[in-house]
Symmetry: C2
Subunit: 148 residues, 2 copies
Amino acid sequence: MTSSRTTADTSAAVAAGLDRLMMWARRQVPSQMSSTAIATLDTLVYRGPIRISELAERERLTQPGMTTLVNRLAEQGLAERVADATDGRATLVRITNAGRDLLIERHANRTQALLTHVERLQPAHRRALVAALDAIEELVASTANGTP
Amino acid sequence: MTSSRTTADTSAAVAAGLDRLMMWARRQVPSQMSSTAIATLDTLVYRGPIRISELAERERLTQPGMTTLVNRLAEQGLAERVADATDGRATLVRITNAGRDLLIERHANRTQALLTHVERLQPAHRRALVAALDAIEELVASTANGTP
DNA sequence: CACTTTATATAACTCTCAGATGTAACCTGA
DNA sequence: TCAGGTTACATCTGAGAGTTATATAAAGTG
């Protein structure tokens, strides 16, 4: 009882802490592209070629919205359309090398921006964050594929 | 030597982990309001009444952009304009009780959404995140007031 | 008291999204 | 095999939220 109570409380504390962390981090790293565009490219990396409608659902966009977003990405050479061999109606979207490069560069920039702050932390706190990296990994992986 | 090398590496790992965490969390909690509007309200809480132009700079918006955003917030009753007693040109923006309530409710909603995932973590991972809460606190506080 | 600077507001435009609707490809049963 | 229904995507308009350029009003300055 005490145990489950504690688990619930600490989970809530962690969730609240993560939310505040995100609010903070958002301000540290200005981003030039639409966050939806970035997240979509990210999904393309982890999911591979994927249908427009499925992409729209994952990114919580309407299908027409995703269609125009894919158009923009294609114009910029960051993604491309591929015919679906199994269904003539469908279009698969695939990230290009340029798209991957953009994500890599962006990630590096953001990491650099956060780095300054992380380096200034008390050593013990930094160690605590390092120790939590696997946990973050699990969290991110928890819905990385097939969100339900 | 080895030590400083390790510090830099682990800091980078932490920063990279945080970036991926943000990408992930973005998808978990859809928000109805503009993220800029939320962040602005948040700033109003932590800074108290503040000038339009200073607010614009903090949120990386142009001054006209912040003027219209403040108009929207005022129409919704989430913030209000107050005359600056020391400067007739300036307008101070102040959050209202309704604005505070909205932030509180939103934080609760997001925390609830994250909670599900946190509770499913392996106990050891959850403990690691709990242990990192103070570190997160320090990180968020590092530029919570007066970023420069 | 003119002149410059500062703080905000207004106007016109752009970009990105949502909602409604159209069109082509697939599936199903008589 | 073909008519009717469904699925997947595209197109069209309209609204929201931001930008730059510019105007207005209050402060400072010689």
